[in-house]
């Protein structure tokens, strides 16, 4: 009978909605879930079949979307992990903002009893409790890229990464030099609430301190070209006379450059952070002045190295420094060949 009335009242959802709930949704859910699990389950079993694997090393990142650095890092960790005979597993929180999602995922990794974890915290504070859980579960963790809040050294083996504040500061110093210690600059920030981004900009400001270079405008580009372009366009309207621009990351350069060319501003000194191949291309094309390089390959392989050493010999932990700075350097037109070798 219902089916008849299904057709009787196909016109208006509202009218039909005032009715009880039935078992159907749960059924559908069950099917969908089982379907999902089974056919993704295949994936898993194959992963396990890569026999002779000494265990699984998981890497937890915020996202690899539009982020060559994170991708390079992931690739490096994967390569090193597999070369050392372990199975690689990548979990990404997907969204730029999914702080708690990442924590949940790490918890799930612990529940899954992975052998070791390489973690790029989206928030230095948020990961502290889960790191505690990992320690209690006896799963060693290495932190990469962005640091954990001060005072929790005991929760992880070591931190391997770029000192973002330092990178920013170097950029600032370079800017002062390039502008001959005078002039106005714009700053395109990362997403609001992004620690790495904030550190870079803070560092940049530090680098400008005491110089004749002052910041005329500073707006968030949300790590996205379209947003970066819009804020740059607008800031350029307010400041006809800027000579320099600092971008918190290479990932926003395209948008920024479009804004500049639309406003046909030439000869503006652009310094960015990352050292991705994209930036290096722009460098070669003379579109930007320079970018503060990070070294994801180095970070990735170092991290896995240390992690494995501890997995295979607990005591090794003591001999490892708590912070390993993978360093930074300015890529500019002067060291293009160097850059081309190092870039990611």
């Amino acid at each position: 009978m219902p089916i008849v009335h299904f057709f009787t009242h196909t016109f208006l959802f509202k009218r039909c909605a005032v009715r009880g709930l039935s078992k159907v949704p749960a059924a559908v859910f069950a099917l969908a879930l089982i379907a999902g699990t089974t056919f993704t389950g295949v994936k898993q079993s194959t992963a396990a079949e890569s026999s002779g694997s000494k265990g699984t090393i998981a890497l937890s990142l915020k996202t690899i979307t539009n982020d060559d650095f994170q991708k390079a890092l992931a690739d490096a960790v994967k390569a090193k992990t597999e070369s050392m005979g372990y199975t690689f597993l990548l979990v990404t929180a997907g969204e730029q903002t999914a702080v708690s999602t990442q924590v949940n995922q790490v918890e799930d990794l612990i529940a899954k009893k992975v052998t070791g974890i390489v973690l790029n915290p989206m928030d230095g504070n948020a990961v502290v409790p889960v790191l505690g859980k990992a320690r209690d579960a006896g799963i060693p963790v290495v932190i990469v890229d962005s640091p954990v809040a001060k005072g929790h050294d005991d929760l992880y083996i070591t931190f391997v990464g770029t000192d973002n504040f330092n990178a920013g500061m170097q950029a600032g110093k370079q800017m002062v030099q390039a502008l001959g210690n005078k002039g106005k600059v714009l700053v395109v920030r990362g997403a609001n609430g992004s620690v790495a981004g904030d550190n870079r900009v803070d560092g940049f400001k530090k680098g400008l301190e005491g110089s004749g270079v002052m910041i005329a405008g500073e707006q968030p580009g949300n790590w996205t070209n379209s947003v970066a372009m819009q804020v740059t366009e607008n800031m350029l309207q307010a400041n006809k006379d800027v000579q320099g621009l600092f971008s918190a990351s290479d990932v926003m350069l395209d948008g920024i450059l479009e804004a500049l060319s639309d406003a046909n501003r030439k000869g503006i000194v652009i310094i960015s952070v990352d050292g991705s191949h994209k930036a290096v291309d722009l460098l070669a094309a003379g579109e930007i002045y320079g970018t503060m390089a990070q070294f994801p390959q180095k970070i990735g392989s170092l991290a896995v190295e240390k992690l494995v050493s501890v997995i295979e010999n607990k005591s090794a932990a003591n001999s490892i420094p708590k912070v390993i700075d993978s360093g930074t350097m300015l890529y500019s037109k002067d060291n293009l060949d160097e850059a081309k070798k190092q870039m990611f």
């Binding site: 009978m1 008849v4 057709f7 009787t8 016109f11 005032v18 009715r19 009880g20």
Partner: protein, 508 residues
């Protein structure tokens, strides 16, 4: 009779200007010093054309709007109600035409909405359901207070509403066309209920357009016209013409014109149609120039039948041939283009788009004809609309007036205007005169007759046997989702005869 329960003395309500100020000097008034009284245990019927002031008078009594002049005396004490709620607390309950309940709540929660029995702030469900059940059975109905209201039949929903009203110890019950959506036997139950209430000494004000009811219930009939009381007569053996006289100020002789003559060529042929898997198949035909009536209780499948023919409801089995072509599975869109029109029983939610203007409503079903290339020319549209508005004598400021602001009669005229504009060949009419006044009714009867006379076919569902008998050339009787009888001879078409089929389902 003893001293009156209620006296409304010299009630006057002025018309208001746009800024909401009453226009006192105007000789046009909504109510012009109308007096009305009601005794204990009396059913006082109030009749009058739409706009005569019935509903305004009752709104004043129900505390929904205040009077500009005049006094209301309840059991000897002068009263003035600030709100409907206050009126109800003082024992005046208003049963509105359209349902005033929540379809998603169960019966008990509906009845006691706003004054749910509690124990220490917590809902006392046991008490809630007990009280509800008691209340309903005291009216002689065994409705499960736990069932979701939306699942009850309209009739039962109405009973619930009455029960709710009574739960306020009402002394006066205002019923605005309670039978509009009820079927014969439901009406009878309602009437018997009303008699029990009378016995309890409750006074009932009863608004209706259906004369045949007035004899059964009702002790006195008061007639309003143009905001004035025309007179009050005893309903014992009143003469319909006399009342109609009083209502319209002229007698409507020949209420049901019959200028049309049925032809032989079949316009619509329904063969072995099943409405529900369970029900036996039915067949019917409509010829050009013929008005075919369908009689039956609400819920006997009348509406479903029309909607199935109109393609708004899936066809289970059987075939429908219209104008020589099989139209199984055609949707309304295609059928309208093919000249079929369906006038729904529910004009507010299915017939009209009340938020739109008369113009937009009138042209809604004929846009495809008016504007072949999909671009609307406003001039052309307005002309088309105006033409129909004049043709159907719709009373409105302009075609740009929103339909929601029109009176019931004019809304119904607008629906007809819409379908006339679509230039149909077959009209499916579902309760074409529901809830409209005598004047409008007779006009609509004329129109149906004209339509048929032009060689179109009409298939008409109605609960009002007089009009059905008056208009139809043939009458099918429907029962339990199928046709149980076909009456072709005029003499067979008597109320008694049809009722016999409806109720007993005897076959010829």
């Amino acid at each position: 009779m003893d001293e009156p329960l209620l006296e409304m003395h010299e009630i006057t309500k002025y018309i208001y200007d746009s800024s909401g100020r009453p226009i006192r000097n105007s000789d046009v008034k909504i109510l012009d010093s109308v007096s009305f009284d009601l005794h204990k245990g009396e059913v006082h019927v109030l009749v009058g054309e739409n706009g005569a002031g019935k509903s305004t008078l009752m709104k004043i009594l129900g505390g929904i709007i205040p009077p500009d002049q005049g006094t209301i005396t309840l059991e000897g004490a002068a009263v003035s109600f600030a709100s409907a709620r206050e009126a109800r607390d003082r024992g005046v309950a208003f049963i509105h035409q359209e349902l005033n309940l929540c379809a998603n709540l169960d019966v008990a929660h509906n009845i006691f909405l706003g004054r749910e029995p509690t124990r220490g702030g917590v809902l006392d469900k046991k008490k809630l359901y007990a009280q509800a059940r008691a209340l309903l059975s005291s009216l002689g109905f065994e409705i499960d207070p736990m069932v979701i209201l939306g699942r009850l039949t309209t009739a039962h929903q109405q009973i619930v509403e009455i029960a709710k009203a009574l739960s306020y110890e009402s002394k006066i019950l205002i019923m605005d066309e309670p039978t509009a959506s009820l079927s014969k036997n439901e009406i009878d139950r309602l009437f018997s209920l009303m008699r029990t209430l009378q016995a309890r000494g409750i006074g009932i004000v009863y608004i209706s357009h259906r004369f045949e009811e007035l004899r059964q219930v009702g002790d006195r009939i008061s007639v309003l016209r143009d905001g004035r009381s025309i007179g009050t007569i005893c309903s014992q053996g009143f003469l319909e013409d006399e009342v109609i006289q009083m209502m319209v100020g002229r007698s409507i002789d020949d209420m049901y014109p019959r200028s049309h003559r049925p032809t032989d060529d079949v316009l619509l042929a329904v063969e072995n149609l099943r409405l529900l898997p369970g029900t036996p198949p039915l067949s019917l035909t409509v010829h050009r120039g013929e008005v075919v009536g369908i009689s039956g209780l609400v819920g006997s499948g009348r509406t479903e039948l029309l909607k199935t023919i109109f393609g708004a409801r899936r066809l289970l089995s059987g075939r429908i041939v219209y104008n020589g072509s099989k139209i199984n599975g055609w949707r309304p869109g295609r059928l309208v283009r093919a000249g079929m029109a369906y006038l729904s029983e529910d004009r507010k939610t299915e017939g009209l788009i009340i938020a739109m203007t008369i113009r937009e409503n009138v042209t809604l079903a004929s846009l495809f004809r008016l504007f072949r290339f999909g671009m609307i020319s406003q001039r052309k549209e307005s002309e088309a609309a105006r033409k129909r508005v004049q043709q159907l004598r719709i009373v409105a400021r302009s075609v740009e007036q929103t339909v929601g602001t029109l009176s019931g009669g004019n809304q119904q005229r607008t629906v007809f205007a819409k379908w006339r504009a679509a230039e149909p060949q077959l009209l499916l009419l579902d309760e074409p005169t529901r809830g409209i006044d005598v004047g409008a009714k007779s006009q609509i009867y004329k129109m149906i007759d004209e339509i048929a006379a032009q060689g179109l076919g009409v298939l008409m569902v109605s609960s009002e046997l007089p009009e059905l008998i008056g208009m139809s050339d043939r009458i099918y009787v429907m029962r339990g989702g199928t046709l149980v009888a076909e009456l072709t001879e005029r003499e067979a078409m008597t109320q008694a005869g049809i009722l016999a089929h409806i109720l007993i389902g005897a076959r010829n």
